[in-house]
Amino acid sequence: MKVPGKMLPKIWVYMFKKPVTVCYPKQRLTPPKNLRGKMKFYIERCISCGLCARDCPSTACQMYEIDGKKRPVFDLDYCTFCAQCAESCPKDAIEMTAEFELAHYKKGEAIVK
């Protein structure tokens, strides 16, 4: 039947139900394990090939001289979390974790080495 207020029964029911949204940060939802969050870098597996820096679409990953060897440094300010570096790495030295709360106070503080 075509009437105004078709939703009223449902509205009445929902009025007494708990909301579906959550009060972040008091309540948190757990993201799936394979979320593309902050990356983890295993320096011992790195062979300094530079593929990650080459494929990075947003210049977040760049090679720097660390202890005499070329190592990737990830600047999360630039990162788009596409996980291409983890994909490109031949030795699986880069891994994406489910950590997504990456707010920080100053530019350049969120760096993964």
């Binding site: 207020g5 078709k6 939703m7 509205i11 929902y14 009025m15 139900k17 909301p19």
Partner: protein
Amino acid sequence: MGSFACVWNQMVRGTGVENIDPVLALIYLLIFPGVFFLFAFSLFTEYMDRKLYARIQRRVGPPFLQPFADLVKLASKEDIIPEKAEGFMFTAAPLFAVAAIFAAYLYLPIVTTTGLHSFNGDLVVVLYLLMIPTLAMFLGGWYSGNVFGQKGGMRVASLLFSYEIPFFLALLSPALVEGSWKMADIVSFQQAHPLALVVTVLGFGIAVVSLQGKLERLPFDIPEAETEIVAGPLVEYSGRRLALFRLARDAEMVVGAGLISVVFLGGPMPLLSLQPVYLSWALGGVIFLLKTLFVVLLLILIKSAVARIRTDQMISFAYKWLIPLTFVQIFIIIIIRYFGGI
């Protein structure tokens, strides 16, 4: 002070208490159930509106003091008057709106059968005072010098009659039942004949729907349709004046809902004569409050279940349905009265 006492004596005659202290009269005017209470109650109604609306939509909704915080925040912001705006009317419009609403409120019988001052025809005065915020809205929009504001002002003015006529007629129907234009008489009559309330159920429905239009809430929020003309008349308002307009809107909701609960639901009825007198006031106040909130709840339910309609649709809705139905209501009353039903 003497005049207050005089007014006061007149007012409390309904409950049979004489020679009240003028200090109490001041308290009545300023604190409860006067200006301060209206202020708090308006903000509470806004909170309830927002919270329930959010819950219906399965959101968390604002915290309890959010409307107050919004008001304070707005009041402390820069108040910008556009160069193109007509200075005096633009700045005065929100003041008119608030003043009219607060004046209308004082005539409502909240704790006893009378308001601050009761006289024959006070119902009509309240109705007229309730119209002023709408006019203020129109003037404010029109003189803001903004295209959207003017468009909104035009819409306010063109929709005015589509809800004012049914609202007036519907609210006068209980007066017809009783045969008096005095709210005190209506309330006393309803207290004596509770069954009279049933006669005006149709009028009650019409009044709630027209009040929705008067308050410019969904589905009748055409003058300030956000997705069409941004905020309509309020587009250029900021800071204190916007806060005042919002307060006027909230207070209008309270007074409108209160008026409906007075004339259709019996206001503070059932009134019990308790001793000391403030106990019976408190009881009356609580009952009035609950009835008002019930009307507000109806307004919220309407708001959340419909889409916004167009100007032409609203006008045709008013003239095709609302106004004929009010005539039906009045006709019913006349017939019942003719056959001496009441």
